[in-house]
Symmetry: C2
Subunit: 424 residues, 2 copies
Amino acid sequence: MTQRALPASIPVDSGRICAELQELAAFTGGEPPGVTRVVFTHADRDARQWLAAKCREAGLETREDGVGNFFARWVGSDARLPAVGTGSHTDAIPNSGIYDGTVGVLGGLEAIRALRESGFVPKRSIELLMFTSEEPTRFGIGCLGSRLLSGRACIESVDRLRDGDGGSARDAARAAGFDGDLESVRIAPDHYGHFVELHIEQGPLLEREGIPIGIVTAIAAPASLRVAFAGEGGHAGTVLMPDRRDALTAAAELALEVERAGRESESPDTVATTGVFRPFPGAVNSIPSRCELEIDVRDTSEGSRDGAVARIVSAARRIADARSVAVEIETVNSDPPAVCDPTVVAAIRGAVAAEGLSAREMVSRAYHDSLFMATLTRTAMIFIPCRGGISHRPEEYASPGDIRAGVAVLARTLAALSSSQAGE
Amino acid sequence: MTQRALPASIPVDSGRICAELQELAAFTGGEPPGVTRVVFTHADRDARQWLAAKCREAGLETREDGVGNFFARWVGSDARLPAVGTGSHTDAIPNSGIYDGTVGVLGGLEAIRALRESGFVPKRSIELLMFTSEEPTRFGIGCLGSRLLSGRACIESVDRLRDGDGGSARDAARAAGFDGDLESVRIAPDHYGHFVELHIEQGPLLEREGIPIGIVTAIAAPASLRVAFAGEGGHAGTVLMPDRRDALTAAAELALEVERAGRESESPDTVATTGVFRPFPGAVNSIPSRCELEIDVRDTSEGSRDGAVARIVSAARRIADARSVAVEIETVNSDPPAVCDPTVVAAIRGAVAAEGLSAREMVSRAYHDSLFMATLTRTAMIFIPCRGGISHRPEEYASPGDIRAGVAVLARTLAALSSSQAGE
């Protein structure tokens, strides 16, 4: 690998990318300043069109697959070689920030533009990706696009997923203008030779230590569960306490067990969260007959993660028994952790050095499309700091200087990987 | 008081009222067989028009007040005397049954028709009422119409109430075609001389004991609270457990305290329910930054009810302190219990005897518009059995025979009260 073809300074335009982040933020289904961009909604579809136009303006060849994963290719001088992939997602959970995912997509585009403007000519093609539904908001499963692309998703399971209106991902993709042919999304293993994703840290370490670049060496193992308790409804005034089979109080007991499973894990890395809690009918004077929970559990150690999940599942059964309510438990996903690829990590290290920056190696506790790309090709991630470690909230913030540094490191990494020989 | 003007058998048409209950059930905002008729929605407005037409068909004079309370008057021979009121509500919580409230409104109409068909001529006018928003679904407070009518609601407090879209009751009433002049709703204390409400029991006692009529001598004291915990949101993967201030787990802890406040009360009558539980943002991979609860507490003893409320409020503060989250606590309502009027109770007893039925005296643990009418005029209630004591669910059921018996007792009670002298 060599960076000799690159100038001392890569012409990354932080004004351009920050303006584009703001433009993209305007595609939202909710009230600003929060961003709500749920997959296949109008906001998501408008954002996709805007992005595709930007990529074509930059001279890239664009295409989409059946589930709406988006590809923009800068064709290399030896286009038969496996490509170098980069990218992330642009969907956003309700009332979220403007940097999560978008910095990796617009940063990838800016890196390509900066390389092109510097006169660099790639040997391997460089391909920018925007993955469909990294966020689990609509269908309850994260990284839908990259799971399908890498062949890590079971099509039958994906077809069983439903959104809040009872619709399937396949139908929603069709309604959004894609062909919905999920079977065709899987990409050939030799399509990419490497993949690198730029992302905000979503945690406090880089800011706290004053380090501009994180080199991700592993991604924590995520799991999520859907649990539904079914008891007996009734009038809140007339059913006496001993006669009740309240689904909400069963669910409340489980939410506290979820918290304990995180707090009391033997691993300090275990996190366990109840993010969704839906009682039915949800009226102040009605005993809830049903209550649905969605639970997220993660750890860098798959064993500790599985231990916490097992504790939660057994608590759900014990609570249901003790309260004479029914319980349904569904494991939505339970993925192994990823170890990042040494070749890509080395390329990032070289880029950091060439930019004269400091960096630290770190684990990603959030999961990313890279978790699934890592099962397909040699993969690593570049993190930049975000203020206070805050993410998934309107207050999420990454500075123009940190974004510029991240994009410059990404550009040099892409250049190095694009110039690499087969097998490197 | 006399019932001599009445025939031995009142011609109550149970086929007609049961058919009308089914017709009314068709006005729903949700999926049948459940009924969802939230105040001022299309379903509610259509049901109101249908009811007004039925009342005009029956020869009654109809009017509405500023908040949509509906009145249908059978003018008596001495129309200067205070009227006899009867009625209930037709709004329904989400996915509810078809008998709660409606039996009192359509039963009141049927009683008037039956009396008219039997040749009875009232001395005092008989007025059928349909109260606006007995259910607290939309604005969080029950008996909105009868509270305003009786002057028991503070207009400033009502104006502060908001529905899920942030709208006020005044604005929603206007949008539904009423004048929204809440100040004008209060009725003169001498407008009514008596009020009697027919209702399904919403509890199991009458069915269990095989008794067709309950004579309500007291109505339990209701209270409701809104509690909101505000912590700190964040990414469910990246914020470690010791760094969290999770609003949902604080709320879960309180929901279990609410249950304990009911179970462990020194009064076996205390019931305490969390019916609404709303985390924000409500995404599986996001730590909830805010969680809102709506809590209902009742007892036939005001002291026991207040004791349970105090325990819940102090638990909310203790939980907030221990978890370093903020808490807001709002008492939406806290009403005294009602003792029913002996004159009206005696009239019901006489009607039960004339119909050759058995009855038992009982307390209503559910609250009703009668709780507020009792502060305005001499008031009591007639209960009929409902299957399994079930209410607020699609399975709610009252038999044609029990409905017929209740309407006949109501008709005789109205006739007796209508014939009573001033001061009786």
